[in-house]
């Protein structure tokens, strides 16, 4: 065990040794080490969040043909710190009639729900908070707190726009949770485990994105909806309800929501990497070659993971800044009438094929082709449906009253 191939354990052993050297009980030393570990993870996540503020602003600027922050630091890299200072010194307003405790707790829970997830994110084969065998479920559970924070913020603000925004957001999150969970079950089924580390390892040979491209698509769509980002950003539709559930928040409280959202998006980018792109590994067996054995180094793996996550995050941003907003009823109908059934059929198909094809040589190609086939069928059905609807619309179209000719 050296620092290079197992840094976390080495440090924690070392710390524990120090504490026990101070005369602490083994139990207590363990607890304190763990608490330090928790803080490290939180700090790491927060540091990423700060970095993300810069990334987001820079990328959106490029999408919108602007330069973005470029004054403070090289490439405006220190802009986030300036932002933080600004947020902190702003007046902290709690509106009249707000439910103070809940109002103040909501942003904390919002950020906490994201940071909770980081406990299970496998940054590398040896760098992770905890490897639990129900990690996939843990993600969903942590997401539940996100929902909670939204409704708390919306309700306690004593503002109708906030409440409407919260309702929309919660409706979206609860609805899209279903296809998302189902999409998460697909890698679970293929890997045969819910542990994120195991899922990552299972993709050393082939990424699940190739085994289940449709699952990936489902996951991306429902993840974006879960994040409440455009095109699913009904919760903060500026033109309708001003800013949604966080309308009344100012200063650092808003900052927490903002950081939480960015970090959440990045985290989902990370999950895309973990579930479908091999996580920290997934070099298609390359790391087994002696020349590439350095790929198994935890630090390299961490860098690989973060790059993959950033790419995922970039895709989410890309969609956010190029799509218009969808109407709320369309969005819920899209979920319940299309995405959810699709997800369930896909799940059953995957489960079945996984069992049937596993012993054969056509596993990869079979899964891939079946996904394509399924997608094709769905598109055909959609096409015929829309044709019918168009025909129906034309048939029942109200004749337009033309202005009378004089």
């Amino acid at each position: 065990m050296t620092f290079w191939n197992d840094p976390i354990n080495l440090i924690s052993e070392w710390l524990r040794g120090i504490f026990m050297g101070w005369g602490m009980a083994a139990n207590l030393a363990m607890v304190i080490t763990n608490i330090i570990g928790i803080f490290v993870i939180i700090l790491f996540a927060m540091a990423i969040a700060i970095f993300l503020v810069w990334v987001e602003r820079k990328v959106v600027a490029r999408f919108q043909d602007r330069l973005g922050p470029n004054r403070i630091g090289p490439f405006g890299l220190f802009q986030p710190f300036a932002d933080i200072v600004k947020l902190i010194i702003k007046e902290d307003i709690t509106p009249e009639g707000a439910d103070k405790l809940i109002f103040n707790m909501a942003p904390v829970i919002s950020l906490a729900s994201v940071i909770l997830i980081w406990a299970v994110v496998p940054l590398a084969s040896q760098i992770y908070g905890v490897d639990i065998n129900v990690a996939v479920l843990y993600l969903v559970a942590a997401g539940a707190f996100g929902t909670l924070s939204v409704i708390m913020a919306g309700w306690s603000s004593n503002n109708k726009y906030a409440l409407i925004g919260a309702f929309r957001m919660v409706a979206t999150m609860i609805s899209y949770e279903i296809p998302m969970v189902v999409a998460l079950l697909i890698p679970t089924i293929i890997a045969g485990t819910m542990s994120l580390k195991e899922i990552s390892n299972a993709q050393n040979g082939i990424w699940f994105a190739f085994l289940s491209p449709l699952g990936l698509l489902l996951f991306v769509i429902s993840a974006i909806a879960e994040l409440g980002r455009s095109p699913f950003d009904l919760n903060e539709a500026e033109s309708e309800i001003v800013a949604g559930f966080h309308i009344e928040y100012t200063g650092m409280k808003f900052g927490l929501f903002y950081a939480g959202e960015l970090l959440h998006a990045f985290t989902f980018g990370g999950f895309m990497a973990v579930f479908f792109f091999g996580g920290y590994g997934g070099f298609f067996g390359l790391e087994k070659l002696a020349a590439f054995s350095w790929l198994s180094n935890p630090f390299i793996q961490m860098v690989v993971f973060l790059i993959k996550a950033l790419i995922g995050y970039w895709v989410i941003m890309w969609i956010k800044y190029s799509m218009p907003r969808i109407r709320i009823d369309h969005m819920l109908a899209f979920n319940w009438k299309f995405l959810t059934p699709l997800a369930f059929v896909l799940l059953m198909m995957t489960a079945l094929l996984d069992k049937l094809l596993a012993p054969t040589n056509f596993y990869v190609s079979g899964m891939f082709i079946s996904n394509l086939l399924f997608a094709w069928i769905v598109i055909e059905i959609l096409r015929s449906r829309s044709k019918q609807e168009r025909a129906h619309d034309i048939e029942h179209a109200e004749p337009v009253e033309l202005a009378a000719h004089h």
Binding site: D99, N133, V134, L137, A144, F145, L148, W155
Partner: protein, 170 residues
């Protein structure tokens, strides 16, 4: 006192206090939020009992779905929230006595039971209770039928809830 016991006592305190807040809080939204705290405490208890799966299911289902549903229901019937009067009915004192009696009775009966202060065995190494649970739920020799019946129940509840709550067409 071991860390386990500390955690348990903290949890138990949270559970009991928040549960009391649930049943006494005059504001229903607060009650629902307190309920969430209670349920979270219970989830930690499950984790303490080494039933990690149940702990997470508890969070997903209770906090993610049931509690949110409660908050929705309270908001949809929000005229009641403006009732600043007492949220307890007239015989709350009798109810309190009954509740205390129930607790006392349960305690009395339990304390007479031989296994009352039993200790838990260590979970044998290599036993994956999650795997066991999964197999139990889908094995015809175990609980496949109850599991399926539960799914039917949920379906029926889903349809029933939609039907009951949908606005009556006149």
């Amino acid at each position: 006192m071991t860390p386990d016991q500390v955690i348990f006592i903290l949890c138990a305190a949270v559970i009991v206090v928040t549960a009391i807040m649930v049943v006494t809080s005059p504001n229903l939204i607060h009650a629902a939020l307190w309920l969430i705290a209670t349920l979270f405490g219970v989830a930690i208890l499950y984790a303490l009992l080494q039933a990690g799966f149940l702990a997470l299911v508890q969070v997903v289902i209770y906090i993610g779905a049931i509690a949110i549903l409660f908050i929705f229901a309270v908001m949809l019937t929000r005229r009641e929230m403006r009732d600043k009067g007492p949220q307890l009915n007239k015989n709350w004192a009798l109810a309190a006595i009954l509740a205390v009696l129930t607790f006392g009775g349960l305690f009395y009966i339990l304390s007479g039971w031989s296994g009352f202060s039993g200790k838990a065995a260590e979970i044998p190494a290599g036993m994956d209770t999650l795997r066991n649970l999964g197999f139990a739920l889908v094995s015809p020799d175990a609980y496949l039928l109850p599991f399926e019946v539960a799914s039917i129940l949920l379906l029926a509840a889903l349809i029933g809830a939609i039907y009951i709550a949908s606005a009556s067409k006149k």
